[in-house]
Symmetry: C2
Subunit: 177 residues, 2 copies
């Protein structure tokens, strides 16, 4: 195993922005290189940790609190964590930072119209029809990070490799890996 | 850092049996020796992960599921976890085992009358008065482990050092440390 510090790559952005796709690409690259990495995304966390939670502000905050606590535990034990969550509110991301060691806020910046056109899970359509309430970007705000550690353009799939490289270079620069 | 495998020491027993006291003693000993160890107990977990949960069977199961998931993540990354939870039902402990790497079920075996006499948090008194419902050992069952990996006598405080040694010898025997 390679020498590394614990860190948390916190990928924030709209639904469909490409957070999990980007996160998985970074995960694969770092695993390949022999680092200890854990990927936390909505699916894994919902099944095991937050099944009870909905989309109210209170529930969203609780969701991020639980994830941050787990990311914090792992990062304190020299594990690199990649966390992919919409985390739309500034205060949530601040809370996450407080739990974690070497927190890196990464904004996966993809315009709403592109996310909506992708609509992989059909959620935007449901939100537009009013079948889902409080959907980020539609009838609930996404508070854009003002000073994220990194901004990645998530609008083009071809850029994923390049984006992974930007993140890995950042980790090296910070001497986290 | 020393060479080690991930493992989970799962300390089960009545409220007041001495789970956290024993867990802390093992934690200190292993930390001192340079191992990567995380202690998960009710207080830490309730604040960060399970604030919403009460003492119904459903809530108790959910509680153990979340803790087991976290213990599983840590143990899969070569961290030693010490988890101190009443975990009164056999099925819960089986679920925990399924989540974790190198799961060691340890029954902190202290007779109910001794736990009740200690009553450090005053919970037994409240349970006897009916102010708390579904309290393990009083009006909710504790299903004793039939084949735990270890049984420790928690009735005497003087035995804590000796009990820690038993656990650490077990970890060595299993080559987890």
């Amino acid at each position: 195993m390679k020498n590394q510090q614990g860190f948390v790559l916190w990928l924030t952005g709209l639904s469909g922005a490409g957070k999990t796709t980007t996160g998985k690409a970074i995960y694969e690259k770092l695993k390949q290189k022999g680092y200890k990495i854990e990927l936390l995304d909505g699916d894994k966390i919902r099944e095991n940790l937050t099944q009870d939670l909905g989309f109210s502000k209170k529930d969203r905050n609780e969701n991020i609190k639980r994830v941050s606590f787990v990311a914090g535990l792992l990062s304190n034990h020299q594990i690199g964590v990649i966390a992919c969550f919409i985390s739309p509110y500034k205060k949530q991301r601040q809370m996450a930072r407080n739990f974690c060691k070497n927190f890196v806020e990464i904004h996966i910046n993809t315009p709403l119209n592109i996310c909506e056109k992708r609509d992989i899970k059909g959620l935007y359509e449901k939100a537009r029809k009013g079948e889902i309430q409080k959907f980020t970007g539609i009838d609930d705000p996404y508070e854009e990070p003002k000073k994220p550690d990194l901004v990645l353009d998530g609008s083009k799939k071809e850029k994923i490799k390049q984006n992974s490289k930007i993140v890995i270079d950042f980790l090296k620069e910070k001497k986290y890996i």
